[in-house]
Amino acid sequence: MLATEHDDALVAGLRAGDSHAFEKLLREHGPRLLRLARRFLANEEDARDALQDAMVAVYRSVAEFKSGAALSTWLHRIVVNAALMKLRTKRRHPEEDIEQYLPRFLEDGHRREPGTAWAESADSVLEREELRGAVREAIAKLPDAYRIVLHLRDIEELSTAETAEILGTTKNIVKIRLHRARQALRTLLDETMK
């Protein structure tokens, strides 16, 4: 059975109110969706709550799922929305302005602050836990709109089109946010990696 046929059969089961189909969907897609929720929510209880909220929403709104659409993308969208809701209720500090982390230029187009090469490489991050922690902290400082795109595109490795569909936005906005998120993250890592 093709993946799409398999998903169509699952959705048909859900629409018929088949609890076995729901359990199957949860067992098949739940692990990836829980990992996604954990990416956005550092607190494990919050991530679990977000998955639970999302799965209830899936059960309730399965009639809205369009046949032929990608089930995985639809599920990602619901989990991202549940995680965002949770983030907004939990936030204690205002988000930082991303502009402060973007490169600045002189009128002639040259960089205002010349770049220097990093002493540490991405491979060092793979090898050293303290660097991995520093990178995770830097990612956490990005405003939600940028952090989510970075997670979906660079970490989950979804396409620009899939990310745009999940976030209900355009491919161009995804591209702009991803580029800005990477530039801001590069600035945030500069001191650690130099």
Partner: protein, 80 residues
């Protein structure tokens, strides 16, 4: 051939690292990079930023914990 400034290079850097930049722009990029050590360092650190984010965020996919699975199924069943 377009001769980009540092700003123009960085504006299109995402397409460059993705290999999606039009050929005529790639030539301009390479012309600029041959003359600007600062942008060479920036491009290298931009690529490292992407890989560092991937390395720092790599986690295995685990099954949904049994208690959570049970809780979700119970919640949904109770709403039937």
């Amino acid at each position: 051939m377009m001769k980009p400034t540092c700003r123009q290079l960085i504006d299109f850097l995402d397409d460059y690292v993705a290999g999606e930049l039009a050929r005529e722009r790639v030539e301009g990029f390479e012309w600029h990079l041959a003359r600007c050590p600062s942008c060479v360092a920036y491009v290298a650190s931009y690529r490292d930023t992407i890989r560092a984010a991937q390395h720092a965020s790599a986690v295995e996919i685990e099954d949904v914990p049994a208690d959570l699975l049970t809780a979700i199924l119970a919640t949904v069943t109770s709403r039937k």
